[in-house]
Symmetry: C3
Subunit: 350 residues, 3 copies
């Protein structure tokens, strides 16, 4: 017989510390992808929306939305890293390194930086550092992620355990690289708000007010656009018999919705510079309406940057639950409506 | 406390006569947006569909569909003009001024040209003239619109009443500006029909035959593509408790569907030059099937134009009601199936 | 009265042998269309996905997916050939002749090559040869297709019967024209698989494993993108009273889904060179989950080509039926889950 032609994905015992994985399917991201992303999420940040606005402040043209870059790079890692994942556990030390413009070809490489078998011997946690590169070889995104992956064979020996040390937050010295110097011409009215860095106070909470209902077709189109092949998102026949009885919305979809909603309140926070940590608290399904609110955790200068500063923001997304009263915890646990808890740095003009 | 960061939109008493509003979020429209518009509505007018066809008759390339330009400009006005609107009442003196090509950045400015409080003191009517501009500062679209807007405070004093005089129809001298001189090479077969200006008779009625069913995902993708933020279109959680019990389809969606349907019968009417008036007669919801028919109201020469003439057309769109018998009125009222009554000028080769 | 302005489409008696039909609505295909196609189907073949990958092996940039070219050309033929079709019966001698790149304008011409009235005198079979051309006049696709078309008038006399002779399969000498010479730099890791031509054995069967559920909105967006106007795909109002009680998914949608699924197992088969024959075995509806498997029917050298060879593949698509056991027949008939039976040539690096 011939060798099997389909890949079953990697199981826990297929990973080893230091392993380098070059992921398949480089992807050229075009204005077509940008348009589809806009139709699917409705972001309104002027820098990404208008070439003329972007040029007026120092970009050569509108950069691609940071999260679209992320989703495309993340999508490449799925067939090798998380096809047999039980859960996507977290992100850390997640940095956007270089602006990405239409017609850039993205590809991705991951390194296994940690492994820990779970005590049930059925699963283990795999820590990877993934990097996205453009066609010139420059890194454009760099992040650590950990996922719980099934073992193929429960009897397989446990690997040497290593849990990597990851920073609780990205250092402010690392935040500026994907943002050129912003000209004073930045126009508050065109951008949609007068609120600059100094207008946000640490501890301030912002209800992003609006809600967006998720449709199955939207989610499938988005997730396929990133060439993300995780089966739980596309196969109703299998999932109708599965854990949730229906297709699960890709976690990144919730991040993009929360980011788009956050425009109403964080209007001038035009660039996600880094993600300190993120957790998909509960699953999201088609028909759910997503709301979001944010808290300003910190406000920071950037070294040698007088044009922009950074806000550390925690954004909470909920489903079927408006956020006027900032829902978060219910006793020790999350409020059952919370689906996403994201801690990240945004850049905003001074 | 910090200043509130989210905008509640303007209420009736926030408007004053002569007020100028520069709207937020300039938007570069690309071939990506054009493709998505094509997928969402399926227009088949050859000038907009084919760069080669457009060049053969004198355009530098295919212009962007007139209605996509409209929707993008309209979308910009929503956060300032109609976020607290109860109803979108009408359009008048609506002119397309210049062809718009991919990679143009659109932005929008509105002026308040009329105000009238309603006798119930809960709402008032705001008349605005909105203009869309390209990045060179040229106006590409100019229209008057009036909306019924909620008052924040019923006790607020009524403004000085002014109802602007608006023309019943756009003068034919104003129709040619967004259409270059069309070469005789215009190919009827490639365009899909032999019928030119002279083939249409005043009073002629045309059933556009086909029906298109609207899906929630299509409508949300379209409306977000225009960065239209009207809440009633996206938030099932809120709308399930609201007036209709479900999300309302953006009125402009019905206009675009009617225009796409009208290709079957008005095949060579490749450019909407002006809209004399329009009324969203009844709400449209996902699952409804849209049909349309048209009546030719007038046929006109354009000054100094031997290449094209104008047809004044009234297009009626219905839901779940084929139009072979041209449904319009039921007694003094509209037939309950009618959703749109649009009076506009199209250009068509002689 | 004026002449009718809407086209009822051609009925069986409107066709005659040797008739040439220039189809309407030339269409410029852009990176926007490519992005939407990617979002709708999720293909991952590296040559079409990455300009950088395509350049590394000898293309000037990524060519447009073969099936997107097909769907656009096919869409043009619908208003003239199959608006009154009862069934789309088959394809043969279907060849891709030239790579098509973004910004190409496609148009289509068909010739009637066969006619046969059915014994019931209500319908007849029309055989056409359709060709798609780019704006330079070069043919990019050429195929025979036959459809069962309604008669307008049962009493109309039968035409002279002619059933064209069509090859059972496309000759291997004709397979290379749309594929430039592929450089040795073709990178298996980036492409996603080490399996080249010699790794596939005749008779080998491959389960493509994954399943994709079809949504109504996805299908409508796709089918409108191709300007395919077949009414059964869009009009729920009419179809709810029709044969299936709901909208039918365009047969080409199933072909594109099967092709995208086939990546998992035929990863390096980057180009469809020809289709020997195809049959839509059963209708597909929204909500169904599509699976696919393939059998290698033949492996062939191409004349004067040391870079690539050809695999003749038969791909079977099913609905709501995983393909681990390669479902095909149930007695003399197809397994009731089978929806598509496609016999085609793909090119794959040696």
């Amino acid at each position: 017989m011939s060798a099997p032609k389909t890949s079953p994905g990697n199981f826990f015992e297929d990973f080893h510390l230091g392993q380098q994985i070059r992921h398949a399917t480089p992807r050229t991201v075009t204005v077509g992808d940008v348009a589809l992303y806009n139709g699917l999420f409705g972001p309104r940040f002027a820098v990404q929306s208008s070439d003329a606005f972007a040029k007026s402040i120092g970009y050569p043209r509108s950069p691609i939305d940071d999260l679209l870059v992320f989703h495309v790079v993340f999508g490449k890692t799925v067939p090798d890293v998380s096809l047999n994942a039980v859960a996507n556990l977290g992100y850390a030390d997640f940095r956007f390194l270089k602006p990405v413009y239409p017609d850039t070809t993205l590809n991705a490489v991951s390194e296994v930086i940690g492994l820990r078998e779970n005590s049930n011997k059925k699963t283990g946690i795999v820590y990877v550092r993934s990097r996205g590169f453009d066609e010139t070889g420059d890194a454009v995104i760099d992040y650590a992620r950990w996922v719980m992956v099934q073992k193929r064979d429960q009897a397989a020996p446990a690997p040497q355990e290593k849990v990597p040390e990851l920073p609780k937050s990205v250092d402010t010295a690392q935040l500026g690289s994907a943002c050129p110097k912003i000209a004073a011409a930045y126009d508050n009215v065109l951008a949609g708000s007068p609120h600059r860095l100094a207008d946000y106070k640490v501890g301030e909470k912002i209800d992003h007010v609006d809600g967006i209902t998720v449709e199955e077709a939207e989610h499938q189109i988005a997730t396929r656009l990133y060439q993300n092949t995780a089966r739980i998102h596309f196969n109703l026949f299998a999932e109708s018999k599965g854990r949730f009885g229906r297709r699960l919305i890709y976690g990144g979809h919730a991040i993009s919705l929360a980011r788009a909603l956050s425009f109403n309140g964080l209007t001038n926070a035009f660039h996600i510079a880094a993600i300190n940590g993120g957790r998909h608290v509960a699953p999201l399904f088609a028909g759910d309406t997503v709301f979001a609110w944010s808290e300003v955790l910190a406000s920071a200068d950037l070294p040698d940057r007088k044009d922009v500063g950074a806000l550390r923001v925690r954004t909470i997304a909920t489903k079927d639950r408006p956020c006027a009263d900032f829902p978060l915890k219910s006793g020790d646990d999350y409020d059952p409506a919370v689906i996403l808890d994201l801690d990240y740095w945004v850049l905003i003009p001074r």
